[in-house]
């Protein structure tokens, strides 16, 4: 019985992790149709900022929840102004440019911070569930994923900024005609998407530690989640994360991590064949 509970918690954690991982990318891709290949490196940057500032004496939670999103968000805005801005409508060129950016960031971070940085212990310790112990941090992850989804949803649904964002997403030309500066909307979107990725990186850092080349481990998963989810940011990310997280974690428990990953990929493949526009291309069509 305890074991079943443990498995459920692990699945929830895996789902939350996919949500955190993919949200930033989903915002950028869903809104701007730009594929950010340096997504993993944005994550890495968030992790580095968390750990470096913690090692410099900043409180871990502030470093993780404030500094990491803030710095990565600002970095994202700079990237948008100096690179992405010139590449709108050219999906492939932006892909190539951001691939270059990802290499540059790996090299740059190695140059600046070196490749051996002492990590941070995962805070909050363990919790006993029956005969088992799980990190309490798992619940933090699950909580943040929920809060994040809720926050994005409320912003899009209830605020003026959300309305403008949705308008720009649906019809940029019309929005422009109505006096919205779409270029600023794009800049802000990219910044916010980056900040969310920075947050995910911050939350990841105490679990895995940081190295410059860590980003590559996450790019594939994030893309597949976003694309499987389809065009709508929240419903898409949530449904894809739930489906993929459950299947891969279930397989991992049954067999091992290799088949867990393979199951995730196969599911995505079959889904895309059945629903070529992603899950939200057919189901939950009208959702955000």
């Amino acid at each position: 019985m305890d074991y079943v509970l443990i498995i459920v918690i692990e699945m929830l954690r895996a789902i939350s992790w996919l949500v955190l991982l993919a949200s930033g990318l989903a915002i950028i891709f869903g809104m701007m149709r730009v594929i950010n290949f340096a997504h993993g490196e944005f994550l890495m940057l968030g992790g580095y900022i968390t750990i470096m500032s913690h090692n410099a004496g900043v409180n871990l939670w502030i470093a993780m929840l404030v500094l990491a999103p803030l710095c990565v968000g600002i970095f994202g805005i700079l990237v948008e102004r100096f690179i992405i801005r010139f590449l709108y409508g050219r999906i492939l060129d932006s892909l190539l440019a951001t691939w270059g950016l990802s290499l540059l960031m790996v090299g740059g971070v190695t140059l600046v911070f070196g490749n051996t940085v002492q990590g941070v212990s995962t805070p909050l310790g363990g919790v006993s569930i029956g005969a088992y112990q799980v990190p309490f941090y798992n619940f933090v992850l699950i909580g943040f994923a929920a809060v994040l989804m809720l926050a994005i949803w409320s912003v899009l649904k209830f605020t003026k900024a959300g309305l403008i964002a949705r308008a720009t997403m649906q019809n940029p030309d019309m929005a422009e005609t109505l006096g919205i500066r779409t270029s600023w909307v794009y800049m802000a979107t990219f910044g916010i998407g980056s900040a969310v990725t920075g947050l995910a990186g911050g939350l990841l850092a105490p679990l895995t530690g940081v190295v410059p080349s860590m980003g590559v481990n996450f790019v594939g998963q994030s893309f597949i989640t976003v694309i499987t989810g389809g065009a709508s940011m929240i419903a898409g990310t949530l449904s894809a994360s739930t489906l993929l997280g459950t299947i891969s974690q279930g397989m991992t428990f049954l067999t091992g991590p290799v088949y867990g990953d393979a199951a995730l990929l196969l599911t995505a493949l079959v889904l895309l064949r059945v629903l070529p526009q992603g899950i939200t291309g057919r189901i939950f069509k009208k959702s955000l």
């Binding site: 950016l101 540059l104 493949l269 992603g278």
Partner: protein, 348 residues
């Protein structure tokens, strides 16, 4: 576009350069240079496979490495088991082509759109990569060949003269054989592109709806193009395997897929010579960087890639051509004002 192949100067220039390099190269180059250039040749064939399906079929594959790796592993397993290399080499074209046709059927008859197509190809590559990395244990062997997981398969036989398993090619001969393959692939692709089939595929690339309203079966067309590209990629994988005499799962990596994209994009989509040029330049650069010790190589490569996209969005070859045309017109402007309207473009 309207010109026939025989009247295209660029085509004859390329062919001439190719033949010259093939026959004169080994006489003037030392062993090291030959091995180096052989690598460019192999990767050029790989780049051509994507240059064709993307530039002339409008199919963007993020998973060209799946076929490259499949060809390489096919060749490795078959040649270790058979003990000669001619049949394995043929298999390394046929098997990936068949797999490409099957995957193409799955994708194109499912009417997947661009980005999703890209992701499906990427996912397929990732699955291969995961699974082949998992084959470290002794239970994963095909006949005499151990798949070897992350470490890959060592001691892959060197290409031999067809029919004589003991007559291994030395580096200069291998270079000539590969150069010959490159020339043949280039020639075949140019012929396909110039044929009716090729014209229809360019038509589909330009406007799918129109082509289908004109009565062409787009899906079948795309499957064929994709299969040809997959076969060529597989063959280049076999060349890579026998050139290096080992192969590891990196052949299936995202990096390998991305490299093909980079070469085609940097060289110019819609050209065949451009990607070859890009292979030579970028591979040379990455090799050169490793022998110098400035900053960090990832940093510099990344900066160069970004610079390429921002400064030369059309790719190297089209940009060079444009530059040459501008200079040409500048010189002729006063003599012939109407030259600009009839400017000759070749689709090298």
């Amino acid at each position: 576009m309207e010109k026939t192949l025989a009247k295209d100067i660029g085509f004859w220039v390329m062919l001439g350069i190719g033949l010259a390099v093939m026959f004169i190269g080994p006489m003037v180059w030392g062993l090291f240079e030959i091995m180096q250039i052989t690598q460019y040749v192999v990767l050029s064939v790989y780049a051509l496979s994507l240059a064709y399906i993307w530039g002339f079929g409008g199919i963007l594959s993020f998973g060209q490495a799946a076929f490259f790796g499949l060809g390489a592993y096919t060749f490795a397993v078959a040649s270790i088991n058979i003990g000669e290399t001619t049949v394995p080499f043929a298999l390394s074209f046929l098997l990936p082509a068949a797999f490409g046709a099957a995957l193409g059927y799955f994708m194109f008859y499912g009417r997947l759109s661009d980005v999703y197509l890209g992701v499906v190809t990427m996912v397929v590559t990732l699955i291969f990569w995961k699974l082949i990395n998992h084959t470290a244990g002794p239970e994963y062997s095909i006949g005499a060949a151990r798949l070897g997981g992350f470490n890959g398969i060592p001691s892959i036989p060197i290409l031999n003269v067809p029919g004589d398993a003991k007559a291994w090619l030395d580096p200069a001969q291998m270079f000539q054989a590969f150069m010959g393959i490159l020339i043949i692939v280039y020639l075949c692709l140019r012929l396909i592109i110039a044929s009716d089939f090729g014209r229809v595929s360019v038509g589909i690339r330009e406007n799918e709806t129109r082509a289908s309203l004109l009565g062409y079966d787009i899906r079948r067309h795309k499957v064929i193009i994709f299969a040809i590209g997959s076969g060529i990629a597989g063959m280049s994988g076999a060349m890579w395997a026998t050139y290096q005499t080992f192969i590891d799962p990196n052949a299936f990596s995202m990096e390998m897929s991305a490299k093909a994209l980079v070469w085609v994009m940097a060289g110019g989509v819609g050209t065949l010579a451009g990607p070859i040029l890009a292979v030579i330049l970028l591979q040379w650069l990455s090799l050169k960087l490793g022998t110098m010790h400035i900053l960090n190589n990832y940093f510099i490569l990344g900066a160069i890639l970004m610079g390429l996209v921002l400064l030369l969005p059309r790719g190297l070859l089209p940009s060079l051509r444009l530059l040459a045309e501008r200079l040409w017109h500048l010189g002729r402007q006063k003599m012939d004002a109407s030259a600009a309207s009839r400017k000759a473009t070749s689709d090298v």
